[in-house]
Subunit: 330 residues, 2 copies
């Protein structure tokens, strides 16, 4: 059973600690890596030894982040996980699992956080962990936001909200963005890197995806699919494909958008995106995955037909369940 | 010569006026129509007669805006233009030009505003006219932001900044977004309408555009082109094509992105988008167009080859000019 803590308690424990190891989730995104790096820089500004550890390499686009990677040069005395909802999400590489079981603190914005750490700060209404840290670092930890820290936190805030498009975006999210800009985050450059730069191979993958587009459930479900061969042929990076997952849901009349990407082991990674009133997490959870209400994911082994059949079955169930709830009973 | 006024003076004149006609620019976008409608609702809340007039119909996606169209039922005693930088931009339909010459007030965020109105409030640092009105309406005009007014103003704020992506976005832009959310703007619904809904025909046009993609100037210029036939075949609305204009510039290594759309009269409407350090407006202006530093446009008559040749010549000049400036002279 984890101890639920508030911001000040979390900050007080971080201030009392040293030799701090910060853990990100596997297949790192902008929020886990932005919050880890921002927190690391803030702790270093307090004169502490701190470093970041992640199971997987970070996408190339985040190269501008000034990350101190953990290289084994100190024995971690305090372990803090950021944006990691459950133990499985840490991954298996780089000996990450050696440290997971002794996580002293977890800072997260997933309401589904499993409470695996000794103490947990969860704010489910926050659009990103970086949104929490934009106040926690200066107001509770007492470290002024430098342009460098602001760039880290803007990275997570902007990527986790699809640049302030997703429903998770609140007035507080925008207010934190304003604060980061005032602290010196160069959002012109960051937005160009994060949202306005697509490689030629990504463009090629987009064309392939558009050609694979299929409609199901009377047009209420759209699916794009990229096989391993197609992914390799276009040369597109996995991280670049992430953006494509919003495409099928964005089509008029589509309530559930599915993106199937074949993994190196042949299994299919499925991204589920839903419009309001439909629960992406419920669909993904029934296939062993998870996530948020509008964006979730799961993996299905087996061939493409099996994967399609399995996910479409769950989509149909969710559409039927919600429609039944929406209609008054007679 | 126009009189330059501040927010309070503009608000005082609006408070003193009645029978107010609000003018938008032709081919209306989210900012001109959002600010016109928001201002109209605010003036009506003060008990005034007010209505909106625009040369062209508004794109279908803005149907949720509660617009009081001018129907000739009152004789305008005060004319205010919003987001219209010059007289030509008013258009020629709906007798708009009858009122332009007696514009009492213009509220704009284009530094290039021609000063055609009797009094002008220009704030070039504002990302949108709606950003100005988010403070002007409650703080100067004294009308509380209703959820309805907030939805109008969010529409302009979000669309003119590409949902807070463009370099025009500032801390103030985000702070105004926060204020509009708190005033009741349903951004979940609005963002879905404005940014996450693409018709099947738009998707079809996107595929056509990707197939037309060409690179010039050693990959520093990318061009997509849709002929009139292609546009008609896909059935895509002109307004939907607007979004596509950001595609070519978004490709890695591309400094100038061009989108050519053939108009009903055979001429080509060219949208110019540039990365930092290159001036889209300079390119468009030399062909009789105009706009902002990163986003501008012009029209060229003649066949496709002529249009391509003319615009590429100006692109090459701009690339060469900037590169010469960037390199120190020996």
């Amino acid at each position: 059973m984890t101890e639920s803590v508030d911001r000040q308690t979390a900050a007080t424990r971080l201030r009392a600690a040293d030799d701090i190891l910060i853990l990100s989730h596997k297949n790192p995104d902008g929020d886990t890596i932005g919050s880890a790096t921002g927190l690391c820089l803030a702790l270093q500004a307090l004169g502490k030894t701190a470093a970041v550890l992640c199971s997987d390499p970070i996408p190339k686009m985040y190269n501008y982040l000034d990350i101190t990677w953990y290289d084994g040069s100190f024995e971690p005395a305090f372990v803090v996980a950021v944006d990691v909802a459950s133990i499985q999400l840490f991954g298996e590489n780089n000996n990450v699992q050696d440290y997971v079981r002794r996580a002293n603190l977890c800072i997260d914005h997933h309401g589904s956080n499993a409470g695996y750490a000794y103490a947990t700060l969860v704010e489910p209404q926050a659009a990103a962990v970086c949104e929490i840290l934009t106040e926690l670092i200066p107001d509770n930890l007492g470290v002024p936001l430098t342009p460098q820290i602001a760039a880290c936190l803007y990275t997570g805030l902007a990527t986790d909200t699809g640049c302030f498009r997703f429903t998770s975006t609140t007035a507080q999210t925008h207010r934190m963005a304003a604060r980061l800009i005032e602290a010196g985050a160069d959002i012109g450059r960051l937005n160009e890197i994060l949202f306005e730069c697509r490689s030629r191979s990504r463009i090629e993958a987009e064309r392939e995806a558009l050609e694979s587009l299929e409609y199901y459930c009377g047009g209420r479900c759209a699916m794009i699919c990229l096989t391993r061969d197609q992914i390799l042929q276009t040369g597109v990076a996995n991280a670049e494909l992430e953006d494509l997952t919003s495409l099928p849901r964005s089509i008029e009349g589509v309530d559930v958008g599915l993106t199937l990407r074949q993994q190196p082991d042949g299994s299919f990674k499925i991204s589920v995106r839903t419009s309001r009133s439909y629960d992406a997490c419920a669909i993904a959870r029934r296939l062993g995955g998870g996530g948020h209400a509008r964006a979730a994911g799961c993996e299905i082994s087996g061939n493409l037909d099996n994967a399609k059949r399995a996910i479409l079955q769950e989509v149909e169930k969710e559409l039927a369940r919600q429609d039944a709830e929406a209609e008054p009973r007679h």
